[in-house]
Every structure is written in structure tokens, then in C-alpha cells.
Amino acid sequence: MKSKVTDLLLARRAARPLGPIVLIAVAVFLIGLWVPHFATFGNLIQILIQASFTAVVAFGMTLVIVTGGIDLSVGGVISLVGVVEADLFLHDIPWPVAVLAGLATGAASGTVSGLVVGRLKLPPFIATFGTFGVTAGLALYLAPPISETISYPGALASLGSGSFVSIPYLVFAAFLVLVVVEVLYGMTHWGVWLRATGDALPVARLRSVPVPRVLCLAYIVSGLCAAIAGTLLAAYLTSPNPEQGGPYTLWAIAACVIGGVDLSGARGKLWAAGLGAVFLAAIQNALALEEVQPFYSDMVTGLLIIVAVVVATYAPLIRKELMTALGRIRLKAAS
């Protein structure tokens, strides 16, 4: 029996997906034991809902991180898109048009970020910090006055609150986004080019990979994902909050990092980022149930990122030590 386990751990291919899955299973299990009301069906659904928003953003963020960059503007885009759509609803614009406008906003923001990073060659965190400033500022500027009440169109409201076989539409929406982005990332040449750009930029150039276009694509997808998340969030909250996107930047980065996306580029699985979002939502949910102050939650998120990066950096070394040790045990067992 021992040899089966060690075999499993030693088989490098198998070991990789295990990480996030094990982490989440263990965490949920432990928390479920510790915190009352955590492991109820209703609460778990709540976690999934919360995770959905973060996950959608994280999918786009993964693509950007894989190119060796980062997108700090997603929070601003989420806010801005919610505001844009609310403004349009106020003027009785039909919801499909409003949603399209929202998506276009996200894409536009992504295009700006992508051009600045790709053509002007500015460091991503500077470029997207700037885009964040612009989008967050615009969101506050364009926000409808609080006095106006906005009635969210029926279709959107039910998207935000409805469910199918007890699973909320929001979760399905997140899955849909995952599938679409994964198709782009895993089945088209764009995915290879994204990873090549993050792995060895000069080599990608040499092989005539259109790097500026690839970078643009990554940020546009990230902007679109943020726009979708913003739409979903607004549909869920049904009250326009021009700062709704605030924490999502950090949460999306945390989800990616926890899910094993390598901040130095070229490595990352979308579904793992999704699981990272679930893990994060679970932790935050547990803290809320325990009536911990909200700022603790933020602190924990910050710490989680640091811990995750540290673990990711040192894990290969630890794994090497572990494997040599296991190998020795195996030899001993065999002899």
C-alpha cells in the first residue's frame, strides 16, 4: 500500500493536479469540522456563488499572468461595467444592448492596457495600475446618483438569483466562461503563443510570434472576463455600487497564485485558478461565519498570496527532498 502512494507521488504527471484539489478538500473538510453552519448545503452554495465572480476574473487574469504580466485594472473594470450598465438601464435601454456595452467597455480597457504593454513596452503593473486608476475613477464619475432607484431587467435579475437543480445560474455562467477561455487557451495556437511569450520572449519574437498582438489578446480577454464578472455581480447585487470591483483584483490574483499559476509566466491551468477561487471564497466565508471583522479577511488574503508564492517557490525544492527521501524508503522496503 505504501508503495502505491509513493508511486503516485513520484509520478510527476499525476502529482501536479493533486495539489489544489487536495488543498481544497482538506481545507473544506477541516473548516467544516470547526465552524458551525459551514458545511450546510445552503452555505456551500453561497461559497460557490462568491467564488464564481472571483473565478471568472481569475480566468482572464491567468492568461495575463501566463504572459509574464499582471492585470491590476480588473477591479476598476468590474466597477465601471456595473456603472455603465446601470446608467443604461436608467435610460431604459434594452438589457442585451446594455450588457454588450458593458462588455465593450471591458474590452476597450483591455485594449488600452494591451497596447501600452505590447507597443509602448511599459511594465504591466505600471500600465494596469494606470488603467485601474482611470477605470475606477470613471466608475465613480459616471455612477448614477443614489437617489435614483434602478430596476434591473427581469432576465438579469433572475440570472443573479435563479438556479437550476439547486445550482445557481451564476455558477453555470462561471463554468461557461471557463470552457470558452479554456478552448482558446488549450486548443488554439494563441494558447501556445501566450505561454511562449511568458516563457522566452526573445525566442518567441525570433519565431515570428506576433508578440504585441498576443499581449493585447491576453489583456483584452482579462478585460472581458472582468466585464462579465461585473455584469454578474451587478445582477446578483441588483443595486449599483460604483466600488463593487474593489477587492476583486487582489482576490483574483490570490486565486491564481493559490491555484498554482506561476507569476513568472508560462505555467498555469485555468481550472486550478477556479479551484483557487473556491478555496479563497471558502476561507472568507468561514471567517464571516465566525464574525471576524472584514479587515481581517483582507489581511488573510494578503498573507495567503505571500504564503502561496513562497510555497510555489520552495515547493520544487521540498518535493525534491521528499522524493529522494521516498526513493530511499522504497529502496529500503524493497531490499
Binding site: 501600452v116 511599459l122 503593473f125 486608476g133 486548443m187 488554439t188 505561454r195 525570433l206 479587515f295
Partner: protein, 884 residues
């Protein structure tokens, strides 16, 4: 150890004797703009004056005394925090936590003040909180090696949370009538007290930055961390110190703001404040890439930002637009800075780094019959000037890398290209491969005249180059690498199965047994190289150029490679092979072209020539017996290693170097000599074994202690490790002596100048003035600086790694004379060199390293090129398994 020479060709050439005063014409403009620190500050002041002038006319109520003083007062806290941020930006970091340090310091101040009644304690506690956060930031960044923007972003939330904890989430009321309250409302002589405080801090900061060794180190680390470290700078301390200053400054700023408002608010500042602070520094001319920035500029930047804030208020513009405007300002400032640096011919550190080529040509030697295929490649009278990052000639340079180069390649031929260091082999390969264009001459491929603007064009013409620094994407798989840029697809969908089968087929045709689904990084260099060749063949290459392919291969791998090349030859492919190894040239090539000083020194049929003749043509001079010799007696051992093991060593290394002695360390590239040298000076850690210096065990000593005490290190890669190109000659020469340039930690410019001037004279460095930036110097002069900075004090051990590589003859001999001078003063020298005549001519004793261990030791009398070579070459029993 490979050389990463980003600007190869700029000054590697013997013919640079033409650059008579050591500085090409472009230097003048570059010198002016490059004296970077003064100009942006002056520009900023000008901008501010212009802004105020326009506003005075356009906006009513702007130019009232009250309003202007108000702006200055509002700018003060921002300026203070931005000054702290400047230090962090200077070391090429960023501090995103300052916004929440504001809140933390704010509540700490009020909490302590309320509980103890003492203003002093409150201020100390608040400042301490900021300082502690900064120290924590710096420590995590340095010890755990997490990028600064992640660490400080995480710390932003942590500090925010701690602040909220202390105040339980509410704003704390500050007691009235405290000293602080009076202070911030005071106006001695009509000038707001806040402005005076800010001015005092600014002056203090200026002194720290410009008149202390810490300040010198900050700039140096920002420009080039590794070079600073290898010169004995205490990099860790500097980084932690910079972040500590940033935290402290943010706290001080918060103290002043809190006193103004009268309540301690945990939400004071926030991300907006962080952004404002960074914007103030950046708009003031501080570079986000490190090294460049001034205190004055930052202060002016803060005033500019507050001026804009003032306009928005006066004009009743929606304040939410402010953030957007800030974002735009920052972007503009960065773009301007990036363009300005480009213009000055300086080096910017862009997000991407293209062209990390390097190469030493390897000479191709063929065996057997002369290929009688038709000419497929004909390069004649190729000329190329020293070039910049874009491949274009450096402005105003007269240095010719290729003077009159010719190469004729036939189908079904293996053609070797040999030549000394700096003969032009690399440059010629780059021209043929499309990496850089030639200025004049004719290049015909299959009879058609071509001039390639990119490697893509060359590949389309059927020419593939396998660079020494393999151009692979290590984290992608073999298949992905092989099809990168030309993936097989149906519409947008990848045809993965087909690519996999094609890859498998190509690899097996070449006899390579590798699973195409493995990640490239998992393969050994030899296998990666074979994959590269398979890739080239897959693209229907007809001309295959290999740039020193055997330098990191074992004997068996070399044999396999040669077998493959012969197979390709029989299929009609023309192969050019650059190498240093004459034996390989003789073993495998059909014809050999010798390049010397950018000119053809002959194209010979390999079977009709001899090793001696080839060497003769390469060198064109007799193996000189005119190396200077030291007359000093050799004393006791100064540096002794016992059984030293490190990553890359095979067995423990035990050597000794005596005072007055020059010990040569010979070996092939990849033998581990540079790794050994780095362990000796402490740049890398040893695994086991000891290093003893003058009788003391220094094995546990960190690098800065060893270099400070008694050792000197001249690294192999001078451009990125030996000198700091954007700094001046004076600063470079005094880099190792920061603590001796004035009393205590102070630096007196007069001392600095004196030391630098005397060193320039001692070394005959050709410069017009010592404030010239190092990047304007020729390679030979740069190397003199790289060596010279160690000569201010007598040291005991000097470790030189390839000191004369890529340097013209005159500079070379000057360096030899210098080494003898050092030896005669009792210094002990360990000289790593790949130039065998140099090793034989200069050394009193010679160690030979091979594959990570010492394979031989010879005295001067015993050694010959043959005996050394015999010990250098790998033996046949090396394995070539896939490495992990």
C-alpha cells in the same frame, strides 16, 4: 559559463585602436543627457513655473498668496512620503504599502497620545510603526525573494488590518491643544510650519542620497544589483534600508496629516494615496527602472500634483476625475522618461529583452573529400560597423567589426569558421542568419542577392542558425518548441496529433530518442541542441549554421552530433560550423575559413592543412614570448582551499595561491572555473570544504566581507557584472571604496575625485573627463575600470575571470603589466583564461579544470599547450543521459 553580452560588438574589436580618445562622437550628447540626475529636476522646476504662470492668467483666485501658500502646505506631507518612495524607486523596487502605513501611523499616533499624554511617545510610536513595516517589507523581499510589488501589496492589506484592529474600525479623536496641533497650524515668518518641516526633511534626504555611502549604494544597486554586489556593496542592507526609509517617511507624513485633521483615521490614505505618492516621485523624474531620480525633482513633482488638485477644486471639476488624471500623468511621465533615455543612447531596461546572443565561433573541421556541390551561399566583402540593440551602427562609430569578410558555402559541405576572440565570427554569423544587416558587401543565397532584415527572412531563404545560447522556450514542450510560430492548424484549432507525429518522425530520423511531449527544460543541453536541429530540418533548411555547438557537450555527445552533421551533409545540406576547437575542425570539416580582425585570412581545404597552419593564420604572430614577467619572490600561500564542493563541482577542489604568484586556471568552457571563482569570493555558496585566507577560515564569510577585507574579483562578464554602464567613470572607480571617501559614512566629492583621478592616471584610461558615463568607453577602457576599481588599496588575493577577453592588443599588454605590478607588490593572483598562450605566458603555476574538478597542476616549465589541452578535454567515458 556563458557570457551574456547584450551589446556584443560594441567594443569587442582589435580594430578599435581607431577610436583614439576612447569615446565615440555619440558620447557627447549622451554625456549631457546622461548626466541624468541634474536635467530632469531642472526641467521639472521649469514645468512648474510654466504651470503656475498659465494658471495665474487663466484661473482667477489662483495666484493669491493664500492659495499658493496653501498649495505648498498641502504638498508638504506628500513630498515627505514621496521622498521616501524615491529611495525605493531608486533601487528599482516599489512600495505599495505606503497608503495603509498612513492609516496605521495615524491611529498609532492618536492611540498612544491619548493613553500616555505624551506627544513625543506618540510620534515615536507612529514613526516606529512605519519604520517597522518598512523593515518587514524589505526583509521579506530580500530573504524570501518575493517581488516587491507583491510583497508590498500584501503588506498594504496587513497594515490596513492592523490599523483597523487598533482603532476598532473607527476614527479616533485627537486631544486638542497638543504641541503637534500648534505646530501644523503655525506660520513662522508667514511660512507654513509644514513647509519648513518638509524642507528640512528634503535637505536631510538629499544629504543621505548624495553625500553618504548608503546613497551611493542605492543608486548603484538600482542600476545594477549584481555588479554592486560583486564589488562588495552590501545590497541586502541597502534594500532593507530603502524600504525602511519609505515606511518611515510615510509615517512622518501621516503624523503631520493627522495633526492637521485632528483625528486618527485607519482609512487615511489608501490606495489613492499610494498612487499619488508614486505619481509625485515619477512626475518628478524618478525612474521606475531604478538608478535615476533626485530629491528636488520629487519635491517639485509633489507640488505639481497638488497644483493640479488645486485646479480641480478651483474649477469645480468632479474630483473623481482626479484619479484618472493622475493615472494619465504617470503614464506620460514614464513614456517621456523612456524616450529620453533612448535618446541619450543609454540603456533602458524594457519589459522585454531581445537579442541575448553571444558566441564564440567554433571552428568547423571536416574530414574526407572536398564537397563538389554547387555554391549555395556566397558572402563577399562584407562590412559591418559596431552596432546597437537594433543592429544599426552605433552613431558616429568608426569601429569595424567586419572589414572584408568572405565565406563561400557549397551544398553537401561541412565548412568550419575559425578565428580568435574578436575576429568577427559571431558578427558574420549574425549577418548570415539575419540577426543584423550588413552595411556593404554582397550576400548571395542560391545565386540571389539578399540582405536580411530579420531571422525570419533568413529562415524563409533556407538559412537556420543554431545559436550557442539555444533559442528555446524552456517551459514549453518539445513539440511546441518545434512548431513555435508555425503551428499546424485547421482554422484556429491546433492539430496536436499531427504535430506530435511529425515531431516524433523528425526526431527519429535524426536518431534522437526523446519523447516530444517532455518539457524542454527537462532535456540536457545536448538533446535540446538536437531538437533545435530537428526543428531547422523540419523547416526545410538548406544552410545550417551552428555557433559553437560543442562547447557544452561531452565527448560522446560530440561524436553523435558529428555523425548527424555528416548525415545531413550527405543529404545535400550545407553546414557552417563555428568553433574554437581545432581538433574538431580537423576531424569533421571539408573546408575551413579563417577570420582574423574582420578579414579573411584564408579558406583552406581541411585535409590539406595542419593545426599549426590554422593557428598561424588565426593568430598571425608567433606565440609570443613577450609577456611581462614578475621578478618578485614568491611567498607563502595566501589563499588555500580544501576539498571545496559547490553546485557544478565533481570532486572537492583543493588549490593554493601564494603571495607574489600568478596562478593560471585553464579549462574548457563549462568546466566550472567561473563557478569556482564565484565560490572563492563568496558570490555563491559552497556545499562543503573550506577556504582559508591568510590563515583565517573565511568559508562562512559573506561576499562583502571577503571583498572588503582582502579580495578582489574581476568577473567574466564585464558589461553586466564588472562595471555599471550608466554610472560615470568616477563613480565606477570608487565603488569599492565608499567607506573611505570621507569621515564615517559621509562621502566628500573632493576625495572621490582625487581617488578617481589618480586611478585614471595609474591605469592610463583614455577619457576626456571622469564624469563620462562608462557606456561611452571602449571595451579595453571599460575593462581597465573593472580592474582598476580594486587598486585603491593593496589587496591580498585578486581573482580575474577572463580579464583580456575581447580586448585590443594594447589594452591587453597594459593589463599584463598591471598584473605583474600587483604580483610584485605581494598580491596573489588567480587568473582564469581560455587563451592558452596567455596562460602559458603569464602564469607561474597552472591548474587545469575539467568537468568540475582539478585535473592537473603544472609549473611554468612543465606546461605546454599540448599537455594543458590533454588535461582540458573530456575523456570518453562521459554519459549523456537526460538530466533533471
Amino acid at each position: 559559463m556563458t557570457r551574456l553580452d547584450e551589446n556584443i560588438g560594441m567594443s569587442e574589436q582589435p580594430s578599435e585602436a581607431a577610436a583614439s580618445d576612447g569615446s565615440p562622437k555619440s558620447g557627447r550628447l549622451g554625456l549631457l543627457l546622461g548626466q541624468a540626475r541634474v536635467v530632469p529636476a531642472a526641467g521639472m522646476v521649469g514645468l512648474l513655473i510654466v504651470m503656475w504662470a498659465i494658471a495665474a492668467v487663466a484661473i482667477p483666485r489662483f495666484s493669491t498668496g493664500t492659495n499658493l501658500l496653501n498649495i505648498l502646505q498641502q504638498s508638504s506631507p506628500l513630498a515627505i512620503a514621496a521622498i521616501g518612495m524615491t529611495f525605493v524607486l531608486l533601487i528599482a523596487g516599489i512600495d505599495l504599502s505606503v497608503g495603509s502605513i498612513y492609516g496605521l501611523a495615524s491611529v498609532v499616533l492618536v492611540a498612544v497620545l491619548t493613553n500616555t499624554g505624551s506627544v513625543l511617545l506618540g510620534v515615536l510610536a507612529a514613526a516606529g510603526a512605519g519604520l517597522a513595516t518598512g523593515l518587514l517589507n524589505g526583509t521579506i523581499i530580500e530573504r524570501v525573494r518575493i517581488p516587491s510589488f507583491i510583497t508590498t501589496l500584501g503588506m498594504f492589506y496587513v497594515a490596513l488590518a492592523v490599523g483597523e484592529m487598533i482603532s476598532s474600525g473607527v476614527a479616533l479623536q485627537m486631544p486638542a491643544n497638543t504641541f503637534l496641533g500648534t505646530l501644523v497650524r503655525g506660520r513662522p515668518f508667514g511660512v507654513p510650519a509644514l513647509v519648513i518641516v518638509a524642507a528640512v526633511i528634503a535637505v536631510a534626504a538629499w544629504c543621505v542620497l548624495n553625500r553618504t555611502s548608503f546613497g551611493r549604494a542605492v543608486v548603484s544597486v538600482g542600476y545594477n544589483r549584481e555588479a554592486t554586489r560583486l564589488s562588495g556593496g552590501r545590497v541586502r542592507l541597502v534594500v532593507v534600508g530603502a524600504f525602511a526609509l519609505s515606511g518611515l517617511a510615510a509615517a512622518l507624513s501621516a503624523i503631520l496629516l493627522t495633526s492637521q485633521v485632528g483625528e486618527g483615521d485607519p482609512a487615511l490614505g489608501g490606495l489613492t494615496a499610494t498612487f499619488e505618492i508614486i505619481a509625485a516621485a515619477v512626475v518628478g523624474g524618478t525612474s521606475l527602472f531604478g538608478g535615476r531620480g533626485t530629491i528636488l525633482g520629487t519635491v517639485v513633482g509633489a507640488v505639481i500634483i497638488e497644483t493640479i488638485n488645486d485646479w480641480i477644486t478651483l474649477l469645480n471639476i468632479n474630483t473623481f476625475l482626479y484619479q484618472a488624471v493622475l493615472g494619465l500623468l504617470v503614464l506620460i511621465a514614464i513614456i517621456v522618461e523612456v524616450e529620453r533615455v533612448q535618446l541619450a543612447g543609454g540603456r533602458r531596461r524594457p519589459f522585454d529583452r531581445s537579442a541575448a546572443f553571444l558566441a564564440e565561433g567554433a571552428d568547423f573541421v571536416s574530414e574526407g573529400e572536398v564537397a563538389s556541390g554547387k555554391t549555395i551561399l556566397n558572402a563577399r566583402h562584407i562590412q559591418k560597423y559596431a552596432y546597437d540593440d537594433e543592429g544599426r551602427p552605433v552613431r558616429g562609430t568608426t569601429v569595424l567589426l567586419l572589414v572584408d569578410a568572405n565565406l563561400e558555402l557549397r551544398a553537401g559541405e561541412i565548412h568550419a569558421l575559425i578565428g580568435e576572440n574578436g575576429a568577427g565570427k559571431t558578427t558574420l554569423i549574425k549577418v548570415l542568419g539575419g540577426a543584423v544587416p550588413h552595411e556593404s558587401g554582397s550576400l548571395q543565397v542560391h545565386g540571389e542577392e539578399r540582405r536580411f532584415g530579420s531571422t525570419v527572412e533568413a529562415r524563409a531563404a533556407g538559412i537556420s542558425v543554431i545559436w550557442q545560447e539555444l533559442s528555446v522556450a524552456p517551459r514549453l514542450t518539445v513539440v511546441e518548441n518545434m512548431f513555435l510560430g508555425r503551428e499546424l492548424r485547421r482554422g484556429p484549432w491546433l492539430r496536436k496529433r499531427e504535430m506530435l507525429s511529425q515531431a516524433t518522425q523528425m526526431l527519429s530520423t535524426l536518431g534522437v530518442s526523446v519523447d516530444p511531449r517532455t518539457t524542454m527544460a527537462r532535456l540536457s543541453t545536448a538533446h535540446q541542441q538536437l531538437v533545435e536541429i530537428a526543428k531547422a530540418i523540419g523547416e526545410h533548411t538548406q544552410i545550417l549554421i551552428l555557433d559553437e555547438p560543442t562547447s557544452s557537450l561531452s565527448r560522446v555527445e560530440v561524436e553523435r552530433l558529428f555523425g548527424l552533421l555528416k548525415q545531413l551533409r550527405s543529404e545535400g545540406i550545407g553546414i557552417v560550423f563555428v568553433t574554437h576547437r581545432i581538433e574538431e575542425v580537423l576531424a569533421v570539416s571539408d573546408r575551413t575559413t579563417v577570420l582574423k580582425d574582420g578579414v579573411n585570412a584564408g579558406t583552406l581545404v581541411t585535409s590539406e592543412t595542419t593545426r599549426d597552419e590554422l593557428i598561424e593564420r588565426m593568430v598571425g604572430r608567433e606565440l609570443a614570448s613577450n609577456y611581462p614577467r614578475s621578478t618578485a619572490p614568491i611567498g607563502a600561500p595566501v589563499l588555500v582551499t580544501s576539498d571545496l564542493q559547490f553546485p557544478g563541482s565533481a570532486n572537492g577542489l583543493s588549490i593554493e595561491v601564494r603571495s607574489g604568484e600568478i596562478v593560471g586556471l585553464a579549462g574548457l568552457v563549462g568546466a566550472g572555473r567561473t563557478e569556482f571563482a564565484r565560490v572563492l569570493v563568496g558570490a555563491d555558496k559552497a556545499r562543503t570544504g573550506t577556504v582559508v585566507l591568510d590563515g583565517s577560515d573565511i568559508t562562512a564569510w559573506p561576499i562583502h566581507r571577503r571583498l572588503d577585507a582582502a579580495m578582489a574579483f574581476v568577473p567574466e562578464d564585464r558589461k553586466s557584472q564588472g562595471v555599471i554602464l550608466p554610472l560615470s567613470v568616477q563613480r565606477n572607480l570608487t565603488m569599492t571604496a565608499w567607506h573611505h571617501l570621507g569621515p564615517g559614512p559621509l562621502v566628500l566629492p573632493s576625495h572621490e575625485r582625487r581617488i578617481a583621478t589618480s586611478l585614471v592616471k595609474l591605469l592610463s584610461i583614455r577619457v576626456r573627463n571622469i564624469d563620462q558615463l562608462l557606456i561611452t568607453l571602449s571595451g579595453g577602457n571599460q575593462q581597465r575600470v573593472s580592474v582598476g576599481k580594486w587598486l585603491g588599496q593593496d589587496r591580498h588575493v585578486y581573482v580575474f575571470d577572463e580579464p583580456t577577453r575581447g580586448i585590443d592588443v594594447a589594452a591587453r599588454y597594459a593589463l599584463y603589466a598591471l598584473m605583474v605590478h600587483i604580483a610584485e607588490r605581494g598580491g596573489a593572483i588567480l587568473m582564469i583564461s581560455s587563451d592558452l598562450p596567455e596562460v602559458l605566458g603569464m602564469s607561474d603555476r597552472i591548474y587545469v579544470m575539467r568537468e568540475g574538478e582539478i585535473s592537473g597542476e603544472f609549473t611554468r616549465e612543465e606546461a605546454t599547450e599540448q599537455t594543458l589541452l590533454a588535461r582540458m578535454l573530456p575523456t570518453a567515458s562521459m554519459s549523456d543521459a537526460v538530466t533533471n
